[in-house]
Subunit: 465 residues, 3 copies
């Protein structure tokens, strides 16, 4: 009777979580104030609503990345497609609500009687927060139960949002596309969880592979992430010039990154062929690597250089580092998030520190628009914090270091919690296998190695009856 | 020689319909007036074109729902993917033009010599009208010929648009995302057609099933419908505040609905596993259920509650009601539109009646913006129709009842017309089978049960030569 | 040892190209001027940034066409899906950068010390230029190596941009959706290359076919191209009225074209069935055929007529012309670009000449807005070039003729260059086969004819070790 219990446990958890969310939001969450619509309520202001036209399409693109992009990118596994796109959907809807609550409590004075506001401009921040946990999902894909994933994400989003608060609100660090606070955090948190959950059976599972069409499904995720990424990096920009720069820099960085991905993929293959894993993932590292600096005046060639470097290290990571990490460090990284989000995120953080330190050479307008805290001796304008450009660079670096620490520490701790034998963790023969959690069509055997696969899962089903 | 005849009959019908459409539109359809572009033609107005920036992206999202969303959502059947996404394309392009004509004749004074205008703001209304018939398509998927579907949609769109005219223009009812006029109408119309066309062979067909990858193709439809749905519910809003509310409410409702979908799906399964049918469809009920109220001030928790309830009843509907309806009531609902559009649509209608009846407690601004017809005793503002909040609630309910009546009556009548032996209705062995209407790749056998499937269709082909 | 050499040759080429691009852009490419952001830098201007809100969503849609649309449309081949969507990604990122450089040198006074600007408004022009080469890719799909494709596109984009310069800047011709300068050019250039590269083995290859699911993957490309096409044709419009017209005309043209596609597809099939090739491709000819005229006042029925004609000739082309061209003219057109881009492009050019010649009957405002060069005797406004409407029609026709000449001549020449035995052209058994250039999953055999396929490729792999 363990099977129905499993369903009951999951359902009860989700039901309770959903009811709690509704109660919290009923007490503390509200629509934006009418004052946010001056074009309606303020007869003297005819134009203030404009900014909303930009916000919603931006949100739509980011939303596409969360539900289409992440969902399909992970469908590359031959027997784990339902879970990839399906659990991605489940996790996202829970995490989005949780992010609304966590962000509300952090950024509104709830204890002082304030409500937190939920508007179109906030929706994209919920998606951003959710992305953090979906990145970690990639590291443990196929090796965790839905309940484990929910618990992981709920802890992670709390920690990630607190970390972001430290970085943005306390240290006054800039990270427009959140390469530190989302990509780096999500990757290293997930890797730490994967380390703690490591099991020798993962290494030897015959199901961790692709089939021809599963690789094509994954490319749906890749191309949509690719095209929408400029909106991810540009969505938070304060003015149209920074926004446009973020769009352009991200686009260019993705281009050179993708070119380098193909070049390096072919050269590290013994037969000079391209590897789908690289194309699906490393092509996107160009979006991560400029995520902390996309609004800065690096000129187009700067973005191209960032992207090219990211493409190179990402493919090399897949080829040499990932197998090594699995064998030596017992960190099994299913999607290779270290190569797509981890190392490019670190590179982005370093880049932001370097560019910030060089911001003394920018135009005064750029310096003030991007780093209002930076102090510039030769000008009459003084940032509120009186920082030099070099100091701002130091703070950027400091925030990255803190992020890394909280991510790894928090991930390890979360991994220990997930090891408790109460979360329906998948047994060995169900690693990378949908049939554990999904009704799979009887005759719809995934391509290749199929008779064996379904013999196993049928046996399993019978043994439970 | 029946085969070429079949092609000739279909082609002649489409050709004639297309030529008639062109003639009607040549006589009566025109571009918008120059006056609609005051920023160009009125030198004193520098800002009036703004609203167009919001309209077009909204249209794009809705267009994505029609062609990508509906098209791929129905590809879940293992041998009916070409028809699902292909016929969805054919039907949409015919229905869009028909909707332009029907709406033109209803809303412009054609007899008085007026032309009807076709602009960017109108395009989205054509897509809306088309959605009605695509929902009905879901109810009869795999059991009807392309000609039957064309005839069905042409009748249905005429009736649905007349019904919408009664509701919106005569009864002054609000249904921003058209949960009554599109979702309810389309679902119950389709179910009535399905009832009349019922045949015992449908129940016993071995082809009404999925394979692993067809379920993944269907998820493409799901995720795109999911992300674009806020634009569907918000596209008709009169001002930015209502639009933003519609976006947020729809997004939140989808979130809680999806969470409940997974929770209930796991608990009603004997082995505690998720069911792809539920995830693909019930997750979207959250968009339908707030479609009539998305612009109303229900606060975020209100949207979450609506969504959660919709998710629960939708999954329960799939699990218990759909098989019962097929067995007892002889209503075979291929896609389960009753669970995705029908019941959530009814719930939306009831919700709109209740909220309207409670609108006396809203801010004066909201009351006037959303129900200009509502009369409020304690204020100095009187709606043109002098209705109380309670009366407006009654009208909302009345419109829903009329919608249900016209949908069921019209659907039954249409079903009878479709039973005439002149529409190339599929014979039993061709139910849920592309090879009746499509050249299917010889060696590209769909997964599973394939040798049998193609033995049948080859025999069929030979027997016709 | 030829295999590693192959990888090295490709990688070196891409690496060198990428470094050269970065150097050129570092020297000559810059962000837009601050003056382009008057709402930021000019305190008197509160509204000037508006136009950017329209530009970016437009770019996003076009970007979706390039990476999602073209990429997946070509995945119809059963064993060539990795290459279709993968090489499409590689080629696009290289061509986008190259287009930025070529356009920069053509349109900025580089020799005079000027830099060229790269902004959000320019990004869409890079995508447009890239589309030209992707269309040609369709003609030679499966028959060329990645290196050949890169070389082809680099030559082609240079020629196509020069041709566009002649047409737009010297001859003052209008082609808003670039049906001449992109679609016609890309198609006839690609066909000329295909002619020169023709080989009897192409005709007899057993791998040039589809499987059930590869046809569904291709439909992803079709529906996204379909929905985004209005943004392609409307993106360059000068004002909102022209933009809206372009959206509406393209939408309507696609509708009637798609209806005709189904009608003609069924009638030319011996069994009255639809053909996926037609649906995937001919449905889109409606976007091409109004590409040169979408902003012109042709009224809705005009757009419907254009589309209907395009659908008819496109399907007839696939059915009768394409096999004939392959057999008689030795032009093997893998994707049938002649039917989707070639003939509809010619039709669009002729249409633009005819409409231009009739522009004397338009409103004065339209005439001036669309053809500022046209001289109109009966008005007080004189175009700078003093042309009559008829003369403008002549210039439109002249530009089309020049385009055709440069495309065919340039394509033939490029084909000869690609015949040099240094570009790793695929040998006969690797035509239409991913395993030449991609690591293909061992057990993930594509459906149908699979054992044979992989026996061949395994042999091949062994023979190289």
């Amino acid at each position: 009777m363990s099977v129905p219990l499993r369903g009951v446990k999951f359902s009860t958890l989700v039901l309770v979580v959903q009811i709690v969310f509704i109660i919290i939001i009923a007490f503390f969450g509200r629509y934006p104030d009418n004052a946010d619509y001056p074009e309606i309520y303020d007869p003297n202001n005819t134009n203030a609503g404009d900014v909303n036209y930009a916000k919603y399409p931006n949100f739509m693109d980011v939303n596409g990345m969360i539900f289409v992009g992440f969902g399909f990118l992970m469908t590359f596994l031959k027997n784990y497609g339902f879970s990839s796109v399906g659990l991605n959907l489940l996790l996202s809807v829970v995490f989005i609500q949780w992010a609304a609550i966590v962000r509300g409590f952090i950024h509104a004075d709830i204890l002082g009687g304030e409500k937190f506001h939920m508007g179109v401009g906030d929706m994209v921040t919920y998606d951003f927060a959710t992305a953090t946990a979906l990145i970690s999902f990639g590291a443990v894909l196929g090796k965790t139960s839905p309940i484990q994933l929910l618990v992981m994400g709920i802890i992670e989003i709390l920690l990630a949002q607190l970390n972001e608060y430290v970085g943005v609100d306390l240290l006054h660090v800039r990270d427009i596309g959140e390469s530190m606070f989302i990509h780096m955090f999500g990757a290293y948190f997930g890797l730490a969880v994967a380390r703690v959950l490591f099991d020798e059976d993962i290494e030897t599972s015959s199901k961790e592979g692709t089939v021809y069409h599963s690789d094509l499904f994954a490319m749906i995720g890749t191309v949509f992430l690719w095209i929408f990424w400029p909106s991810f990096n540009g969505g938070f920009a304060d003015d149209q010039q920074q926004r446009d720069r973020a769009y352009l820099n991200t686009f260019l960085s993705l281009c050179s990154c993708t070119a380098m991905t193909f070049a390096v993929s072919a050269i590290v293959d013994r037969q000079g062929r391209f590897n789908m894993v690289h194309v699906q993932n490393s092509s996107l590292a160009g979006g991560v690597v400029v995520g902390a600096t996309a609004n800065m005046p690096m000129e187009p060639f700067g973005a191209l250089i960032f992207g090219a470097v990211a493409g190179i290290i990402s493919v090399l990571g897949y080829r040499f580092l990932t197998p090594l990490m699995s064998k030596r460090l017992k960190i099994h990284d299913t999607c290779g998030v270290h190569n797509l989000h981890g190392m490019p995120g670190v590179l982005a953080a370093i880049g932001s520190a370097v560019l910030a330190a060089m911001s003394g050479s920018w135009s005064l307008h750029d310096r003030i628009a991007i780093f209002p805290e930076t102090f510039e001796e030769n000008s009459t304008v003084t940032g509120a914090l009186g920082r030099t450009a070099g100091q701002q660079g130091g703070y950027q670096f400091l925030a990255a270091t803190i992020t890394l620490g909280i991510a790894i520490g928090g991930g390890a701790l979360t991994g220990l919690i997930l090891k408790l034998p109460i979360w329906n963790a998948p047994e060995d023969e169900h690693l990378f296998d949908d049939s554990e959690n999904w009704e799979v069509p009887d005759e719809g055997v995934p391509l290749g190695n199929s008779s064996n696969h379904y013999k196993i899962s049928n046996t399993h089903v019978e043994s439970r009856m």
